[in-house]
């Protein structure tokens, strides 16, 4: 329920709705003029958080030494390892696998299924439960150019333009070419996509797409996919084992410099174990829970970019870790849902962002960074609405959706959103929601090629942990696609390597030892420890009394 003082503004939004509905109904014309290249650059450089003076700083160590990276990313790269390399006896191996997969989201699950298809022994180690991942939370959709008026060439253009032309072309090619067959693969596993009665896919537009290309499963798209993949993994106990509550804290290499396993840490028993593996796939996801620039986040509790640290210490290079995606529409009211994702599908279905006076101020489907910067601009101009907890946002006018698409659309297409806000007595069919950009996605990551390989033999990366697919800005619906395409590619190529014959040498953590020594020799003195593993939300007054903290690595 909105507080009384917002009623005037809500009235103004309702007052302009009919006129904005007319705009939406005009065929062949956008409701608001989309920005040109120079206008995009202008709003980004003035208002996007990445462009603030202190957003980036130079990293002093490792493969990207000397480059400017996002501040908190540098923090975790310049942190000490959780444990000195000498702590572990690598001659005592607890688990052996052909393919070790770090992370149990949809990229890791897809890789596991592909490895199992080849009859290999796959081990998944994950921080929380299998499927506890950002994958599960994706709402709006997955892109694939399968419509008659669309094709992979147009999809390619959208991806690379949205990414500011920084994407690695061979990765974009893989992404768009594999898209339709990925949808087919998922459907064959039993994912229920939204369809028209004739079986054709029901598709919508997303920010920065030139065609309707967004496939969805209501607004539980990520959950529908991730639940299905997890169920399939459960069905293959002969090939796939999984260890939960066991994040990896270091990669293990062998004396030939190949990826050869990982050190796992059980969050509850606090036991460490050693995994020896012929290949390793990092599918640990992104960094939302690092709360970059103190933003609230849409991300899963475990999204602390652990895989980046592991790969970086082992010598893998990062790409585009100077860019951060803020989702344009995070909730700012009520207090309990601040930062939560309000899916882009809401705008795909016709909802418009409007200011406190009910005025439309931006084309609703700009690429995410441009849309987010435009919303921040509108708030900084004083045209936002203040919340009781002191935040500012603009309205996302959801009632338009049913005026455009007919009654019942929201219940059918956005049940998660309807449910989310109705828990707090806001009916999004009748009232708009208050939104502001929220920390959402790690655009960059560990650099891969089209086979999901890194420069370290036997080390693969898939999904949000990887860098290069999306350049410096990902479009909606391309991360769900990414995790399937590159998850599968990582699994297939790791399997191929194993089947080609891998001889693992002596296990080693020398790279961790050398990294620690280099931190010392560079004079980098810090108490900070990484990988971070979990954020820490215990309030200071309680923390002060928790004298024998078992838990390290947080940024607080």
């Amino acid at each position: 329920m909105y507080p009384d003082y917002m009623k005037t503004s809500l009235g103004k939004v309702a007052g302009t709705r009919e006129q904005r509905l007319r705009l939406a109904r005009e065929k062949g014309k956008e409701v608001f003029t989309a920005l040109s290249e120079s206008q995009r650059e202008n709003v980004l450089s003035t208002y996007h958080p990445d462009y603030k003076d202190d957003a980036r700083r130079e990293v002093r160590i490792g493969p990207n030494k000397g480059e400017l990276l996002t501040d908190r990313v540098v923090d975790i790269l310049e942190s000490r390892p959780r444990d000195p390399a000498d702590t572990f006896d690598l001659s005592k191996v607890d688990y052996e696998a052909d393919i070790l997969i770090l992370g149990g989201g949809s990229a890791g699950l897809s890789a596991a299924i592909e490895g199992a298809e080849k009859g290999l022994n796959v081990l998944i180690a994950t921080k929380l439960r299998l499927g506890d991942a950002n994958s599960m939370m994706a709402q709006g959709g997955i892109q694939a150019a399968d419509q008659k008026d669309d094709n992979p060439v147009l999809h390619y253009l959208d991806v690379i333009g949205g990414g500011h032309f920084d994407n690695k072309p061979e990765l974009v090619e893989a992404l768009v070419n594999d898209a339709p067959s990925s949808i087919r693969w998922l459907e064959n596993l039993g994912v229920m996509f939204d369809k028209n009665p004739d079986g054709s896919m029901s598709v919508k537009a997303g920010g920065g797409t030139c065609r309707n290309r967004m496939h969805s499963a209501k607004d539980y798209t990520g959950a529908a996919i991730c639940k299905t993949l997890r169920d399939e993994v459960y069905n293959r106990p002969d090939n796939i084992r999984y260890i939960e509550f066991s994040p990896a804290t270091e990669l293990i290499l062998d004396d030939k410099g190949q990826a050869a396993g990982a050190v796992l840490y059980h969050l509850e028993t606090k036991e460490y174990s050693i995994v020896k593996a012929k290949t390793v796939i990092i599918a640990t996801g992104g960094f939302g829970r690092l709360h970059i620039r103190n933003f609230e986040t849409t991300n899963h509790y475990g999204a602390t970019a652990d895989g980046l640290v592991l790969g970086y210490r082992a010598g893998a290079r990062l790409l585009y870790m100077d860019s951060v995606q803020y989702h344009p529409t995070g909730a700012v009211f009520p207090e309990q849902v601040v930062g939560f994702l309000c899916t882009e599908k809401i705008r795909g279905l016709g909802a418009q962002p409007v200011n406190k006076d009910g005025e439309l101020f931006v084309y609703p489907l700009e690429p995410r960074d441009v849309e987010a910067a435009s919303i921040i601009q509108e708030c900084e101009r004083g045209n936002g609405v203040k919340t009781p907890s002191g935040l500012t946002g603009v309205w996302l006018d959801t009632p338009l959706i049913e005026m455009i698409n007919g009654e019942g659309t929201i219940e059918a297409s956005l049940p998660a959103m309807l449910r989310q806000f109705s828990r707090f007595d806001i009916d999004i069919r009748k009232q708009p929601i208050l939104i502001y950009p929220t920390l959402h996605y790690q655009n960059g990551g560990l650099e891969i090629n089209e086979k999901a390989e890194t420069t370290i033999p036997g080390l693969y990366v898939a999904g949000e942990a990887s860098g290069g697919v999306h350049g410096r800005n990902r479009l909606m619906g391309n991360s769900q696609l990414d995790i399937i395409v590159f998850g599968r590619r990582a699994g297939q190529n790791a399997a191929e390597r194993v089947l080609g014959g891998v001889t693992t040498g002596k296990l080693s953590l020398d790279h961790v030892r050398r990294y620690s020594e280099e931190l010392d020799s560079l004079g980098i003195v810090t108490e900070r420890i990484s990988p971070v593993i979990l954020p820490d939300y215990i309030p200071d007054h309680v923390k002060a009394k928790q004298i024998t903290l078992e838990y390290f690595g947080t940024l607080s």
């Binding site: 989309a34 040109s36 939370m137 399968d146 333009g161 067959s181 820490d536």
Partner: protein
């Protein structure tokens, strides 16, 4: 600021704590000093990790909810259920029939449903759980798949069921059978897959790959936008 916040009393596993009144059960736990490892996941109502049973002041009824989505009330008693030891038989989806016989084989407990509706009452997603179990008994797999679709697998239904049915796994099976076998197939999708395999777009994508940034910029901003 925290001094000014209005506080309420909650009982976590019976132990008394004072927390801000706007807390969810999850943030109340953290405010009280618990570093969460189990029973926490997406924190936005999509993953089902934080199933919780609670009782409100003066009530005798036990209610179920998601810790991340339920606001505390003064006097609330809270117990989290971080894991449900539910049956999940392994199956080969390629070998299954999308009809009631599959459920007779894999989940015979479905047919013991006593229509008590306890599952529906506890569901934090407000899903008509009993209805989809009844759909399966009637052989309507499609309806069961759609009705159960929003399930996030918190497991509270199975814990309350007097007939020992594992509703959330049963629903998952119905969804997979529907998605794979019963949903109408997209011919456009198959056609496009063939076109790509036949290399129909290779030349055009190779051309885009070969362009310099300026040319690519021009091509991108000049592309035809046709969305509805």
């Amino acid at each position: 600021m925290s001094e000014e916040r209005k506080m309420v009393t909650v009982y976590i596993l019976g132990e008394q704590f004072s927390v801000p009144e706007s807390s969810t059960i999850m943030t109340a736990l953290e405010y009280s000093g618990f570093q969460l490892k189990r029973g926490v996941g997406c924190r936005e109502g999509f993953c089902g990790a934080c199933a919780t049973v609670y009782r409100e002041k003066g009530e005798y009824k036990l209610k179920g909810g998601l810790a991340c989505q339920t606001v505390v009330s003064d006097g609330m008693t809270i117990a989290r259920i971080p894991f449900v030891p539910a049956e999940k038989p392994a199956f080969d989806i390629e070998e299954l029939k999308p009809d009631v016989s599959t459920f007779v084989e894999l989940y015979p407990s479905v047919f013991r449903c006593v229509s008590c509706n306890t599952c529906t009452k506890i569901c934090p997603q407000d899903i008509n759980v009993m209805d989809y179990i009844q759909d399966i008994i009637k052989g309507d797999i499609a309806s069961a798949a759609h009705t159960s679709f929003d399930c996030i697998r918190c497991g509270l239904c199975a814990l309350r069921c007097p007939a020992e049915i594992v509703q959330f796994n049963v629903g998952m099976l119905a969804q997979r059978l529907y998605g794979k076998y019963l949903a109408p197939r997209s011919e456009e999708l198959d056609k496009r897959i063939n076109e790509i395999e036949n290399g129909e777009y290779r030349k055009d994508i190779d051309r885009l790959k070969s362009l310099g940034k300026d040319e690519l910029v021009e091509e991108y901003y000049g592309r035809d936008i046709s969305i509805t």
